[in-house]
């Protein structure tokens, strides 16, 4: 029955995956790609190298703590047997007591140091992964739909900390799991070799345990991660569309969608935990029995009840107690390693999407930050040529653009008209180099648009960041004087808007430009264009949200902005298209005029 469930879940997963592939077309989702787990493992190993000195130092400190533990056991055994024999002879115990204190201090200090070292190493590795991830995520401008913001939040806020946990625990635990039991065995054999043998007999449980954990845990963790990602995307999408959902009376059904996803996440997390708990329980059982055997052997021998051939008949009191005290310590690093091993399964599952994003396997399309790194076209206006450029989106029968032939001479402004959905935006994305045509090519001067210096985009829905208006205008550009800022504001006819804001240029705006109307946001975007030195512009419906008066007042500044620059301007407005030197019309992906 369980198998049946597993099989059904698999097929559901596959269906989900297929659907996602349909959904994204050629684009690949952050969590959707699944390279071999081996790739993720080797990626983890490579990435971990940046913190290796810290992890090794932590392991060394752990080893020191192991030595201290052996000492604690030895002196404690001496104290106990001494107490049993001599009652209250405190003077004879002074040496044992101070030895105990010193060893105890060594254990405490080295464990503390090991924790700090491992945490410092993990922090370094985490910061490095985060930095690369951010560069890649934000740089991947050509394919805004590839990685959703929800997935990005999951990756940075959830998956990277998981990797940090792994780095903090695993390598250190792996070294300790080998070295500390060896150390304890080395101490146990001279004291009571039978105990040493008993402990060694219990050792095979560790690989068996790891095999059990490894069998199911990785796949389970992966499913859990996928569910976290799915839940976060679903919730973010619904939050952003909330007022529409309310207007449509769809809140009840959408709440059930979220409830189902949340319940599914609980079930998947629970499945991951079950395996982890089972593995640690098995280890606990074995160690309990082994310790019990040691205790029974020690007790019986101390009693003198056991007369098994070959086994020593009597055991020194102190040696016996010492061996007994060491037995639990022998299993402690093994248990810790088992927990860390589970963390590793978790980390491999978390690393897969991140690794495929940062170091895509050969042949897979890379999410590159090329556009971001490219310089802007600023010295001269380029000539742009489209040569039978064709674009198809997945899931749609008709090509979004079919066989577009166009030449835009340097310094010319091309107006693009046409009904909604005819392909205007797609044409602009191809010309700007954000989208590579499936067939044909698009050249800026003689370079493919996707590799050429980038164009400046004035979008349909300009994006305002949380921050001051001045920051939003300069977009972090240094050395823009207030005078130049005010010039651009004047040209974009924002002066009165800025004057009306409570703190003028230093007014803080919220997400999506809270505090400014759509028209004002659009004018901020136009002012940004005035501040830029770019000579190649892509302008997408610049006046879509502006009323007649503001639009008319903007035509002249826009003409001035575009003068001497190469530009593509898409618009429905005759007044805006009048700015262009030449106007073409796109209908159903085909060029007219």
């Amino acid at each position: 029955m369980t198998q049946d469930v597993v099989v059904r879940r698999r097929s559901q997963d596959r269906r989900f995956q297929e659907r996602r592939f349909r959904q994204r077309g050629r684009a690949v989702a952050l969590a959707g790609r699944r390279p071999r787990a081996r790739t993720a493992r080797s990626w983890l190993a490579t990435t971990g190298r940046h913190g290796r000195p810290w992890f090794l130092a932590a392991a060394a400190a752990d080893l020191l703590a192991g030595g201290g533990t052996v000492g604690v056991g030895w002196f404690l055994a001496g104290l106990i047997t001494g107490g049993l024999r001599g009652g209250a002879e405190v003077t004879g115990q002074a040496g044992e007591l101070s030895g105990l204190a010193v060893c105890g201090a060594v254990v405490a200090v080295s464990l503390f140091t090991a924790d700090r070292l491992a945490a410092a190493g993990a922090r370094r590795v985490e910061a490095r992964i985060r930095a690369r991830l951010l560069d890649t995520l934000l740089g991947a401008d050509g394919s805004a739909e590839r990685v959703t913001p929800g997935s990005a939040v999951t990756a940075l806020a959830d998956q990277v900390p998981r990797l940090g946990e792994y780095f903090r625990g695993y390598q250190r635990a792996a070294v300790a799991a080998v070295a500390v039991p060896a150390l304890i065995l080395a101490a146990a054999f001279p004291a009571a070799w039978v105990v040493g043998v008993l402990l060694m007999l219990a050792l095979p449980i560790v690989p068996v345990n790891m095999a059990v954990t490894g069998l199911g845990a990785e796949e389970l963790s992966r499913r859990q991660l996928r569910q976290i990602d799915r839940l976060s995307r679903q919730v973010l999408e619904r939050l952003q569309a909330m007022s529409t959902l309310r207007a449509l009376g769809a809140l009840g059904t959408q709440r059930r969608v979220v409830a189902r996803a949340a319940a599914e996440l609980a079930a998947r997390t629970s499945a991951v935990l079950r395996v982890a708990f089972l593995a640690s329980t098995a280890l606990e059982w074995v160690s309990t029995f082994a310790i019990g055997m040691v205790a029974m052997y020690t007790g019986a021998t101390l009693l003198g009840y056991v007369h098994v051939p070959l086994l020593p008949v009597r055991l020194g009191d102190r040696q016996g107690v010492f061996a007994l005290l060491l037995a639990p310590e022998f299993f402690l690093p093994l248990r810790r390693f088992a927990a860390a091993y589970h963390q590793r399964q978790d980390a491999v599952a978390a690393a897969e999407p991140i690794a495929s994003l940062l170091d895509p396997p050969a042949g897979a399309p890379a999410l590159d930050g090329a556009t971001a790194r490219r310089a802007v076209w600023s010295d001269r206006a380029p000539r742009v040529v489209l040569d039978r450029a064709t674009v198809r989106f997945g899931g749609r029968s008709r090509a979004a653009l079919s066989g577009i032939d166009l030449v835009i001479p340097a310094g010319h402004v091309l107006g693009v008209a046409g009904p909604s959905g005819a392909g205007k935006s797609t044409l602009l994305r191809v010309a700007g180099g954000w989208l590579a045509p499936d067939e044909g090519r698009c050249l800026v001067e003689d370079t493919p648009a996707t590799d050429a210096p980038r164009a400046l985009l004035l979008g349909q829905r300009p994006y305002l960041f949380a921050g001051t208006l001045a920051d939003n205008l300069t977009l972090g550009g240094q050395g823009i004087s207030r005078t130049r800022l005010w010039e651009a504001i004047e040209l974009a006819q924002l002066t009165r808007v800025v004057d009306g804001l409570p703190d003028g240029l230093d007014t803080v705006l919220g997400e999506r430009g809270w505090g400014l109307s759509g028209g004002e946001a659009q004018r901020v975007a136009i002012a940004r264009g005035f501040l830029s030195t770019a000579r190649f512009l892509i302008v997408d419906e610049p006046t879509a949200h502006l009323d007649a008066a503001t639009e008319n007042a903007l035509i002249e500044p826009l003409r001035r902005l575009l003068h001497g620059r190469t530009a593509l301007v898409a618009s429905h407005s005759a007044a805006v298209l009048a700015v262009a030197d030449h106007v073409v019309e796109i209908r159903e992906g085909l060029l007219h005029g």
Partner: protein, 576 residues
């Protein structure tokens, strides 16, 4: 199987699981304590018997007892962890859903103010933090309480002074742990605020990355985000340090308690006890502190969970304050959205209506009457109050004063289920969910047949451009602006409202398409009162003949340029 359960049983399930887990936890802890005590006593007694070989002593029963206790402990702990974690996860899933419901009741303006990224972070991280309240506070708290009472009682039976020493030192250690954790609330608070701010910034940057890239500001944004996420390590480290300090305090307490017990037991202070009994006492004392160690991080976990809870309540509490809603979402299992009947409707009558945001009137209408089934166009420049008026009619914005009646029903105070069954508002920036076109249309009418959906596409002049099975991409990214617009109109058509409010329906559409769509709507919904807010400029180019055109003009004495801002004080008056 789960589906056939009664809701009440399902509701109680996590709590039953939690109770089972707590019982098992107590069993495990008691078994563990008994195990340590028995083992200590047994070993020393064995040693004594061995030293004095004449003592008649059976080692079989005690050792079998130790093994049995060990098995009980391990098994109970497995069951405990499984059931408490499952119960916690189920409860958290419930909190997530409730939070989403609460967010769905936020007024539109407030929703826009809350950054969606920050809200998402709350749904995830804050809810996750709540598990600490159960797993790190409640469970170890109960365990520690039971073990402490039982252990101290047993110690006191052996000799009252042992019980007193163990109990007092334990209490002191726990008090010190609590003292350390007091300051962590502020730290937790800071961490949570920083984390959600970072997530919000990340969402913003991801949304705006095409523009960021074109302006070469990607590196800056990445650096800022990196700094924000790296900065989270500082409060995190401090919290960890406090947690370690709390655990250390308990460990010190253990050493002190053991020292006291040993000093008394060996006769350093008072009368010595039998070594076997002493071993029992020492190990029970140790077990007492073992149970307390589980509480070492309780203070931090509790503080963090409290911060998270407060932040979640901020969202939820705001959500509950909406007065005109007869809360469609109080119970996660009801679906009041679709069951309500539309109100009969009739003429739309506005009298002395004043409305605006933040106390500043954006629109003022002295008197306006629209007979049932009128197709009215609301024109005017930006900032004239067109969207504000539509929000009032849709019940999304409470008017400052005046009345807006639809038939006999006062629209602003109509309860949500009936309101949403009667009125549909298509906003300027309508939201779209990933999935197919059909998925999105079914948001409006879940039981619609394929024919009805196809008809809706026909009405919105979309049937040539997309198919029902077309994937729209995340937030409709695969659709053009005009297609998104028409999809929203198709959704509104499927609602078949008595009052249809369209905010800039022609946005992103060319004049011909816009006219076709509006004419289709009119023909398809002949009895519906339709009000379309359209820019002056657009309206001038639209070959459209509405029944009425209402022109909202900013006050003559108000400065036009100021009235162009949405935060302005402009007031609009209808001119007939």
């Amino acid at each position: 199987m789960v589906d056939h359960e009664t809701p009440r049983r399902a509701e109680a399930r996590p709590f039953r699981r939690l109770l089972t887990g707590l019982l098992l936890a107590v069993v495990a802890a008691l078994a563990s304590t008994a195990l340590l005590g028995l083992a200590g006593w047994f070993i020393v007694r064995s040693a004594q018997s061995g030293l004095a070989t004449t003592s008649p002593f059976s080692w079989f029963y005690p050792s079998a007892g130790v093994e049995a206790l060990a098995v009980v402990r391990t098994t109970a702990r497995y069951g405990e962890r499984l059931s408490t974690h499952r119960a916690t996860l189920d409860l958290l899933a419930r909190v997530r859903t409730r939070l989403f419901s609460a967010a769905s009741r936020l007024p539109a303006a407030r929703m826009r103010g809350l950054r969606s990224g920050a809200l998402l972070d709350r749904v995830h991280a804050d809810v996750d933090t709540l598990d600490g309240a159960i797993l790190s506070v409640a469970v170890p708290g109960v365990v520690c309480g039971v073990v402490a009472v039982g252990g101290v009682a047993v110690l006191a039976i052996v000799r009252p002074v042992f019980g007193i020493a163990g109990g007092v030192v334990l209490l002191l250690a726990l008090a010190a742990d609590l003292g350390i954790s007091l300051g962590s609330r502020r730290l937790g608070e800071r961490l949570a605020a920083q984390r959600s701010a970072a997530a919000a910034r990340l969402v913003e940057a991801m949304d705006g990355r095409a523009e960021l890239a074109s302006f070469g500001a990607v590196g800056l944004a990445a650096r800022e985000l990196r700094e924000r996420f790296d900065a989270l390590a500082v409060p995190r480290r401090n919290l960890t340090a406090r947690e370690a300090a709390g655990t250390a305090v308990i460990a010190v307490g253990r050493v002190i308690a053991l020292g006291c017990v040993l000093a008394v037991g060996t006769g350093l202070w008072g009368r010595p006890v039998d070594p076997a009994v002493l071993a029992f006492v020492v190990l029970v004392t140790a077990a007492l502190f073992d149970a307390a160690t589980g509480l070492g991080s309780a203070g931090q976990a509790f503080a963090e969970a409290r911060v998270a809870w407060r932040r979640l309540r901020e969202v939820a509490a705001v959500g509950f304050t909406r007065p005109t809603d007869t809360d469609p979402d109080t119970d996660a299992d009801t679906d009041a959205d679709t069951v309500a009947e539309a109100v009969p409707g009739g003429d739309l009558t506005l009298r002395d209506l004043v409305a605006g945001y933040g106390g500043t009137p954006a629109v003022e209408i002295t008197s306006l009457d629209l007979p049932r089934g009128t197709f009215a166009v609301l024109t005017g420049p930006s900032g004239a109050g067109k969207s504000t008026l539509l929000s009032v009619l849709a019940g999304e914005l409470a008017p400052t004063s005046g009345s807006a009646k639809f038939g006999e029903f006062e629209l602003p105070v109509l309860d949500y289920p009936r309101r949403v069954a009667t009125v549909t508002l298509v906003e300027q920036d309508s939201g779209i969910l990933s999935g197919t076109v059909a998925d999105n249309l079914r948001l409006a009418r879940p039981d619609a047949t394929a024919d009805e959906l196809a008809q809706a596409l026909e009405v919105a002049a979309l049937s040539g451009a997309v198919e029902l099975s077309t994937e729209v991409g995340p937030a409709g990214a695969h659709l053009s602006g005009g297609q998104r617009r028409r999809l929203a109109i198709a959704q509104a058509y499927l609602r078949r409202p008595r009052l249809l409010l369209l905010d800039e329906p022609s946005e992103g559409l060319d004049a011909t398409t816009a006219r076709v769509v509006l004419a289709n709507l009119r023909a398809a919904l002949p009895h519906t009162t339709i009000i379309a807010a359209i820019h002056d400029r657009t309206f001038a180019h639209l070959p459209l003949v509405p029944d009425t055109a209402i022109s909202l003009r900013p006050d003559s004495d108000a400065n036009f340029a100021v009235s162009d801002c949405s935060i302005s004080t402009a007031t609009g008056h209808p001119t007939p």
